[in-house]
């Protein structure tokens, strides 16, 4: 499959990286030759220098043959025009654009075949914001991911002594909390994946992934560790797009302090936010953090655009006594380094988020959602089952009869508005959204094949 990526910035570069590694044919366009050179030397991709929205540049980049266009330049307007040009001149099949400005991205009436021809809008900053928001709502969780418009969530958390289920077999879960339906999709013990059965015993320090309806997540979490008090006071370090978006989204629910180093940006933040308190200063200024009573706050989110500051300020916050520390880290090497650090509770990688968002669009089966987990080693997939009993290998079959590749579990099925937590007897119907958990990424291709409708082959 040929993929055309416009813009070799952070998102474009990382995307090209992970797609090229998945053996897609990637062409990257940017107007800055030095950036192209840096990426081109590292990856096996084609690079084209030029203005990303110009038709001649797009033709040279192979827009006519491309299956998917991903416009991720820094300018929303260039992205929109590029999608329009590809639609009008080159009939590129699928057009995905990154739009940052909410004024565009939130206006659904703007987009469609007859209007601005963008099939999917991605906004990694907003996705990061949403993730942090979910994590703050569930103190103790390592990851909270949405499926089926948020009806179902996948949560990852570390088991601690004090949780009622720790040290016991999983099958007691149903007797402990009979009103809640959940399914533990996978357990990672010292980095090794375990596919859980009813007899699997949860041990302390296990990282457990489980799937449940949105409203049940908290009670399941209570089984694996002592329940945490809900967060109230939150400090956000960094008032960039993510920091501002986060503060704006949650300032009615929490007491927010947002620390911004640049005074003019701080002024801008103060104008845009209503309840949040804007502090002008460096997030690594220990005295200032103490003066602002950081030890009294429940959560600390380091979301500046500087990894070093994020990491250092997070370590400091944890040392000063903050309960939950969430850190944004861009550099892959740092992500790996900090992931298991006891000082940082959750590491979020914006690149991983952006890639997750795009991966769902490049897969062959009808995949609604992909979340890349554990730094890309595992994946949670929401896939739509199509066809009939004859043409599909899943529809019309009970879950226990479906031949799943090894290391894969079905967590839940969403049928219309109903959430069915998967167990052996559930029958898959056409148009069900099936949420799968894949421990071994090598199995992705087999899963794609499993869900493709047979008739398409003819």
């Amino acid at each position: 499959m040929q993929i055309l990526i416009l813009g070799a910035g952070q998102v474009g570069g990382i995307l090209a990286d992970s797609l090229a590694k998945e053996r897609f044919d990637v062409t990257l366009v940017d107007k800055d030759p030095s950036r192209l050179k840096a990426v081109g030397e590292r990856l096996d991709i084609k690079t084209i220098h030029g203005e990303a929205s110009h038709p001649d540049v797009l033709r040279r980049a192979g827009a006519e043959e491309a299956d998917i266009l991903v416009a991720t330049t820094g300018s929303d307007e260039v992205n929109i025009v590029a999608c329009q040009v590809c639609y009008t001149k080159f009939q590129t099949a699928k057009r995905i654009a990154r739009l940052r400005a909410a004024a565009y991205a939130d206006d659904n009436a703007l987009f469609g075949e007859d209007h601005v021809p963008i099939d999917f809008i991605i906004n990694p900053e907003r996705a990061v914001t949403n993730q942090v928001k979910e994590l703050l709502a569930h103190p103790g969780a390592l990851e909270i991911l949405d499926f089926a418009q948020g009806k179902v969530q996948l949560a990852a958390m570390r088991a601690y002594s004090g949780g009622p289920l720790v040290g016991r077999a999983l099958r007691f879960l149903t007797s402990d909390i009979p009103e809640v339906e959940t399914r533990v999709a996978a357990i990672f013990r010292k980095g090794n994946a375990i596919i859980p059965t009813g007899d699997t015993v949860i041990e302390e320090d296990d990282e457990a992934f489980f799937i449940a309806a949105r409203e049940d997540i908290t009670s399941v979490m209570g089984e694996l560790r002592k329940a945490e008090l809900p967060n109230k006071k939150v400090v956000i370090a960094g008032g960039g797009n993510i920091g501002y978006g986060l503060a704006k989204a949650i300032e009615e629910d929490y007491d927010i302090k947002i620390v911004e180093r640049d005074i003019s940006r701080a002024n801008w933040l103060e104008d845009g936010l209503s309840r949040s308190i804007v502090i002008n200063g460096s997030a690594t200024d220990r005295d200032m953090l103490i003066e602002e009573n950081i030890d009294q706050c429940d959560a600390f989110c380091a979301v500046t655009n500087d990894d070093d500051i994020n990491i250092m300020s997070s370590l400091m916050a944890k040392r000063l006594g903050v309960k939950q520390v969430i850190t944004l880290i861009g550099k892959r090497a740092y992500v790996d380094l900090m992931h298991d650090s006891p000082s940082i509770d959750v590491v979020i990688s914006p690149q991983q988020v952006a890639t997750s968002m795009l991966l769902s669009h490049v897969r062959r089966a009808d995949i609604a959602r992909v979340h890349s987990l554990r730094r890309g080693a595992a994946e949670a997939i929401e896939v739509v089952a199509h066809g009939t009993k004859e043409s599909s290998k899943v529809v019309g079959r009970r879950i226990c009869d479906i031949y799943l590749p090894s290391g894969t579990t079905i967590g839940a099925i969403v049928r219309g508005d109903k959430v069915l937590i998967a167990h052996d007897e559930v029958m898959v119907q056409a148009d069900d959204h099936i949420i799968l958990f894949v421990v071994d990424k090598k199995q992705i291709t087999s899963i794609e094949k499993l869900f493709q409708v047979g008739l398409k082959l003819f």
């Binding site: 002024n267 103060e270 308190i277 502090i279 002008n280 602002e292």
Partner: protein, 482 residues
């Protein structure tokens, strides 16, 4: 040179004013068969010819520019105050002296509602009507009226409009063209008056009273056709109608315009100033109810009266529905103080205006926040929008000058007369805030105070109506040296 063009425009405005303000009451006099027909016709002829003469003599004058609007507006209010007094002085009933006549006419034009007449009930209908008509013109503003309907004013309209508009944000336009905006404002104003007339009539007033009181209610004026003001109508229905229309008229008319245009009444509650305005009215009313709960008094006022007085004074209308002098002193003082906050900017109400009070309150809160968070960044925000430093400064200087003038006038009055502090204090705040009734010796009417005091109060009424600077700028050397 400014003089010719200012003289010409004053002439123009006087000419038109004479037609609207004198001929209509003349018709009323004719309708009721009163001899005041001749009084109004004389006033009309005098004013018309002086106005027309000025207009004719300076007809060649160029259009004016820049800050001339302040001078014109100020002059025009002075001119109207003087000429407007004519019928009141010429008529045998009430047959006022020069000072009293000007006091009455300025009190009308500035929508203050303080009166020097006792025995209103026995006055000719046409004179009563005329007083209310003056208030009605003054409510939305004569200049706004002129900008809307008199194209002869030429290009300086924007300046003129600003010199009369109220509130810190005088640039707010409803439509791209200022004349168009002014027209919409007057249409809303006239429509509101009409509905008010009908409501009063249904609630139990006779048609004449309904029209007159609708004029003085919607203008937030406070004149009444009866000495007893609203005590005369001992009907809760009438009082409730008055309460409703006073509240509505105290809201920014530009907001009324938006609500009508978008057909969404929720916009009222989305406005920070209106929310604060409602809160002030509520707090004052509750306070009065509480006072009557815990203090003895000889007044038989019920809770409708508490609400009525709270709204009437806090909006600076000045209607009275109860024997205020029987109320506990604290209730009286709170009513007078409530008038300082006044109504919303861009309404017909007087006072400092809610938006300024709110902004200063927020600024105070910011200073406290700064003490708690030395590194914090805090802006003064109203309705989620930051208030810029120049606007903050202008609000502060307005309020400081307002307070300074307030005390200065009290001292001045007590110097030139033997009035006690309560009387002077309440008379000045009633004039400066365009409220009307005071306490002590000026509780019922202003007829017993001396002429110098009246002139001080007249100036206070003008300063209050034109929001200080339009008048004060004329007394600075900077203005004349330009």
């Amino acid at each position: 040179m400014l003089l010719p063009v200012i003289s010409k425009l004053t002439g123009v405005l006087l000419t038109y004013f004479s037609i609207f303000a004198f001929l209509v009451p003349a018709c009323v006099a004719f309708f009721y068969g009163e001899i005041e027909v001749s009084v109004f016709l004389t006033s009309f002829l005098v004013t018309f010819f002086i106005g027309a003469a000025l207009w004719f003599y300076f007809r060649e004058a160029e259009e004016f520019r820049g800050a001339g609007g302040f001078l014109l507006t100020a002059l025009f209010y002075v001119g109207l105050g003087l000429f407007g007094a004519l019928p009141l002085i010429l008529s045998t009933q009430p047959g006022l002296s020069f000072s009293d006549g000007v006091f009455e006419s300025v009190s009308g034009l500035t929508t203050t509602g303080a009166t020097t007449i006792s025995g209103l009930d026995s006055l000719p209908k046409s004179i009563l009507f005329y007083r209310h008509l003056l208030q009605w013109f003054g409510g939305m503003g004569i200049i706004v009226f002129a900008v809307a309907f008199l194209p002869v004013l030429g290009v300086g309209q924007m300046q003129l409009y600003h010199s009369e508009a109220s509130g810190p944000d005088r640039d707010a336009k409803l439509t791209p063209r200022i004349a168009e905006s002014a027209k919409f404002l007057w249409l809303i104003y006239a429509g509101l008056t009409l509905i008010c007339v009908i409501s009063y009539f249904i609630a139990g007033m006779n048609l004449f009273d309904a029209i007159c009181h609708a004029f003085s209610t919607v203008a937030i004026g406070g004149f009444s056709t009866h000495d007893q003001s609203f005590q005369y109508f001992d009907l809760n229905s009438v009082k409730l109608v008055a309460i409703f229309f006073m509240i509505v008229s105290g809201i920014n008319f530009a907001l009324h315009f938006s609500v009508l245009k978008r057909k969404n009444p929720l916009l009222y509650l989305a406005d920070a100033e209106v929310r604060t305005y409602f809160l002030v009215l509520l707090l004052v009313s509750l306070f009065l109810v509480a006072v009557f709960q815990f203090r003895q008094s000889d007044s038989d006022a019920n809770s409708v009266d508490h609400l009525f007085q709270a709204v009437s004074f806090a909006t600076t209308t000045g209607f009275v529905s109860s024997e205020l002098y029987l109320w506990p002193p604290i209730a009286q003082v709170v009513l007078i103080l409530a008038a300082f906050a006044g109504g919303c900017a861009g309404s017909t109400a007087g006072g400092i205006k809610i938006i300024r009070v709110l902004t200063i309150w927020r600024q105070g809160a910011r200073e406290i926040k700064r003490l708690v968070h030395p590194n914090g960044v805090f802006h003064v925000k109203v309705g989620g929008q930051p208030v810029t430093e120049p606007v903050l400064n202008s609000i502060w200087s307005f309020v400081s000058v307002y307070i300074f003038l307030f005390f200065f006038s009290i001292v001045l009055i007590m110097t030139v007369s033997d009035l006690d502090f309560l009387t002077s204090f309440s008379a000045v705040s009633a004039s400066l805030n365009n409220l009307g009734p005071g306490l002590g010796m000026v509780g019922e009417s202003y007829e017993d105070i001396s002429a110098p005091v009246k002139w001080i109060l007249i100036i206070n009424m003008m300063l209050g109506r034109l929001e200080l600077f339009t008048i004060l700028v004329l007394f600075t050397p900077y203005y004349w040296r330009r």
